[in-house]
């Protein structure tokens, strides 16, 4: 087991693009070697050693044996864990946009809040956000036909608008409330919102959305299919979006 601890040297003023921070890049490397990897602060390439204090305990042959612990505020550090395939990242604080984007495997736990596009286009693995998540949880980036395709995202707090936009697979669980239009243009996958939300599932062609709280405004593009029980609780089942010949399922209490 290799544990890599990163502590930011300062509160970054300009956002840092740090897709290099992932177990795949750190496995088996010394603190110096990890420090030589490059992240971008604005448009300037900076070695990680200039941005973080780096400590390495133990060693590992492969990414699945690596744990990265980030202590301190990285709310201006983007793309942590992008495209990671295995291992563990623990962020003890808030994190900036696109954390775990295109992730294929492994686990990311965020103790604080995550900014927009957490788990963007991920295909596997697991992300747990213990605080709140901002816009586009598990969505596709601008213009992408498919957002999340696999894996699981759990947000223990609230999420903002457009949860799982263009989702094609996988699972998103929001324990709190979600903003408007979760599951917009979905083509697959499952979204569970335990709190309240607004206008779920517009333009959805496939997939499932379950809302356990209140739906403030149900789009008039869903056909009522009757009552169905999920885990012993009765929900009204709707099918749509009929405007786009959708067969997505929407369950509302």
């Amino acid at each position: 087991m290799q544990t890599v601890t990163l502590v930011p040297k300062e509160q970054f003023k300009i956002s840092v693009e740090a897709e290099t921070i992932k177990p795949d890049n750190f496995a088996g490397k010394s603190a110096d070697e990890i420090g030589a990897l490059v992240a971008y602060e604005g448009n300037a390439p900076r070695p990680l050693s200039e941005l973080f204090d780096i400590k390495v305990d133990g060693s590992a042959d492969a990414a699945d044996d690596v744990k990265i612990e980030i202590n301190g505020n990285v709310n201006r550090v983007k793309r942590i864990g992008e495209a990671m395939t295995a291992g563990l990242i623990m962020i003890n604080g808030d994190v900036d946009m696109r954390c775990g984007a295109k992730m294929k495997g492994g686990t990311i736990t965020i103790k604080g809040n995550a900014d927009s596009w957490v788990g963007q286009e991920m295909t596997g693995g697991e992300i747990n956000v213990q605080g709140d998540a901002n816009y586009y949880v598990g969505a596709g980036y601008r213009g992408e036909a498919c957002g999340m395709r696999g894996g699981k995202i759990t947000v223990f707090g609230n999420a903002n608008d457009f949860v799982g936009e263009h989702m094609c697979g996988g699972e998103i669980i929001i324990k709190g409330n979600a903003g408007i239009m979760p599951g917009v243009s979905n083509k697959g996958g499952k979204i569970v919102i335990e709190g309240d939300t607004d206008m779920p599932g517009s333009e959805m062609t496939k997939g499932t959305i379950i809302v356990k709280g209140t739906v403030k405004d149900l789009m008039p593009v869903y056909q009522r299919e009757g009552i169905e029980a999920i885990d012993g609780v009765e929900f009204t089942k709707y099918v749509g979006d009929v405007v786009v010949d959708g067969v997505g399922e929407l369950f509302v209490k």
Partner: protein, 567 residues
């Protein structure tokens, strides 16, 4: 400028009948010369493959529809990205790369010249602004005439001199190279939500037919003695069964005599209109009758429009076909209106090998190139970015050179493809000389730029030279296709106008390229009638004032003007 000597080159230069000869090439002041002095910079090619710089006679690299493609596809700008270097700017995009990447990508493959294939007159300023910013390569734009009100009015009144005068004005106004015709008449019909269905379907409100538009523009083209022939995108493109329209369109120009040593008709991206069947269910290849026609007639040339699996952004002045595509595929789409001229459409799509429709389209492009006997008659293109991005040219070259390479691709493709095409039974494999024809020599001939020193390595030609890291006499292209593709993808050297712009596949210099355009003298009496009509149309129908409109010389900073006259 400096002198340069390329030693021990295995040269293929079809325009000068050089077929794999080991020779030296001398360069002085950006031109090929007989010999240079002892102090010249020397490159030892060491027997490696040397071609003239590549020429792309049909591509979409600049102008409003390319830019619309960029706006519509933020997802595309995340592909194929490369950070800036000391000499290059940051590069983004795969199907619609950013402006700089366009030039770098061509240069890396040993290409030095490209023709933007569709410039609406009213959008020509923007086109030239982008062309000017595309580094390294030389460029030209083909001006759209196929659905313009001015064209159709002159044709209805059977006034060939007025038509020729308008073409001359249009080329001047757009700083264009030649006549492009897209879905003749259909662009105008599309303004009313309609299309034309074939050669004899009258255009609404104008009562002229596509047949008349093609024939009279071809005649005007010869009257003006233009370097290129008409450049035609047929009616019914993108519809099953359209090969009959295509063959009938060929026949329209059969009796047009070319004034120059070139074809009198160039039909573009024929892959998209060599289709049989009545609908998508019985869709099949009809490349055989098309190739058969080419084998029997030498007045015309075509380009392949080869499909490449993966992401593409289709863009054409054929608005109605794009609308149909977008509805069929539930894809994004955008329509570019250029007032009384043509109207374009842009639709992104994805070509899947497991879709037999896409598989058949893939096969048709290769069939056209392989079934047509004369390599000079079929140019290699992908109709970038319609069939796929131009960066895939090296792959297409290896497909033409190696049956094994085609078989490897066929293994991925839906089986139904092979019942509806003949590609699996074709064993023709092109050689290094044929590829030189298909990727540079024939392009230069078709576009009429040989006399400008393009597409060949004869004395006096531009020193546009590509050296590839492969030795033709030691390489079996039919087996070692991966090696060949890698070599074509990253030229060992690309020399543009005597300057090394690529070394070992990396851009080393970014000179500005030139823009070619044609200044044609119009027939005097036709010119007067035409100007009267044009002024009236600008006043009555355009939202742009004619006095404010024309591509001024400021927009074309590195021009090469080709002067020709009415005869």
């Amino acid at each position: 400028m400096s002198e340069m000597l390329i030693k021990n080159a295995t040269v293929y230069d079809p325009i000068n009948n050089i077929n794999g000869d080991m020779m030296d090439i001398a360069v002085k002041d950006g031109k090929i010369v007989d010999s240079v002095g002892g102090s010249a910079q020397t490159i030892d090619a060491g027997g490696r493959l040397v071609y003239p710089g590549g020429v792309d006679a049909h591509t979409h690299i600049a102008g409003s529809k390319v830019n619309v493609g960029r706006i519509m596809r933020p997802d595309d700008s995340r592909l194929n990205n490369k950070p800036r270097t000391k000499v290059t700017r940051p590069r983004t995009g795969y199907t619609v790369p950013n402006v700089y990447s366009m030039g770098y990508g061509y240069a890396e493959m040993g290409y030095t010249t490209a023709f933007e294939a569709a410039v609406p007159i009213l959008k020509a300023r923007h086109t030239h602004e982008e062309l000017e910013e595309i580094p390294i390569i030389d460029k030209a734009g083909l001006t759209l005439f196929g659905s313009n009100w001015m064209v159709m009015d002159a044709i209805r009144e059977d006034d060939l001199d007025r038509l020729a005068a308008y073409v001359a004005w249009g080329l001047l106004a757009s700083r264009g190279w030649g006549i492009k015709i897209v879905n003749p008449g259909g662009g105008e019909a599309w303004g009313f939500g309609k299309n034309v269905s074939g050669l004899d379907d009258p255009v609404p409100n104008f009562e002229v037919t596509p047949r008349q538009i093609v024939k009279q523009l071809a005649e005007a083209n010869e009257k003006l003695n233009l370097p290129h022939s008409i450049h035609l995108h047929c009616n019914n493109l993108g519809k099953p069964g359209n090969y009959e329209t295509t063959l009938a369109t060929f026949d329209v120009c059969k009796d047009i005599k070319s004034k120059r040593d070139r074809q009198s008709l160039h039909v573009t991206h024929v892959q998209f209109n060599a289709w049989g069947g009545n609908h998508w269910g019985d869709f099949e290849s009809k490349s055989e009758p098309i190739a058969d026609y080419l084998n029997k007639n030498d007045f015309l040339t075509i380009d392949m429009g080869q499909l490449v699996f993966g992401s593409a952004t289709t863009m054409t002045a054929d608005g109605p076909v794009q609308y149909a595509n977008a509805r069929l595929l539930k894809a994004r789409w955008s329509n570019g209106d250029v007032e009384l001229e043509d109207s374009s459409g842009v639709t992104p799509l994805e070509y899947h090998p497991q879709s037999y429709i896409h598989g058949i389209m893939w096969a048709i492009g290769l069939e056209l190139a392989l079934l047509t006997k004369d390599p000079w008659q079929v140019l290699m293109t992908t109709d970038h970015p319609n069939g796929g991005p131009y960066v895939n040219y090296p792959m297409v070259m290896t497909m033409l050179m190696s049956q094994k390479r085609r078989e490897k691709e066929m293994a991925k493709i839906a089986e139904l493809t092979f019942e509806r095409t003949s590609i699996a039974g074709i064993d023709r494999e092109l050689d290094w000389y044929d590829i030189a024809i298909k990727t540079r020599a024939a392009h230069a001939k078709v576009q009429g730029i040989i006399e400008l020193g393009k597409g060949h390595l004869g004395v006096g030609a531009d020193a546009d030279i590509a050296i590839y890291d492969i030795k033709p006499d030691e390489t079996d292209a039919t087996m070692e296709f991966d090696k060949v593709e890698a070599a074509f993808r990253h030229a060992a050297y690309t020399i543009k106008g005597g300057e090394i712009v690529v070394k070992d596949g990396e851009i080393t210099a970014v000179p500005k390229g030139r823009t070619y355009w044609v200044k044609a003298t119009a027939p005097a009496d036709g010119h007067e009638r035409m100007m009267e009509d044009l002024k009236m149309k600008f006043k009555k129908y355009y939202s742009v004032n004619m006095a404010n409109y024309m591509v001024q010389d400021e927009y074309v900073e590195h021009p090469v003007v080709f002067e020709t006259g009415y005869q």
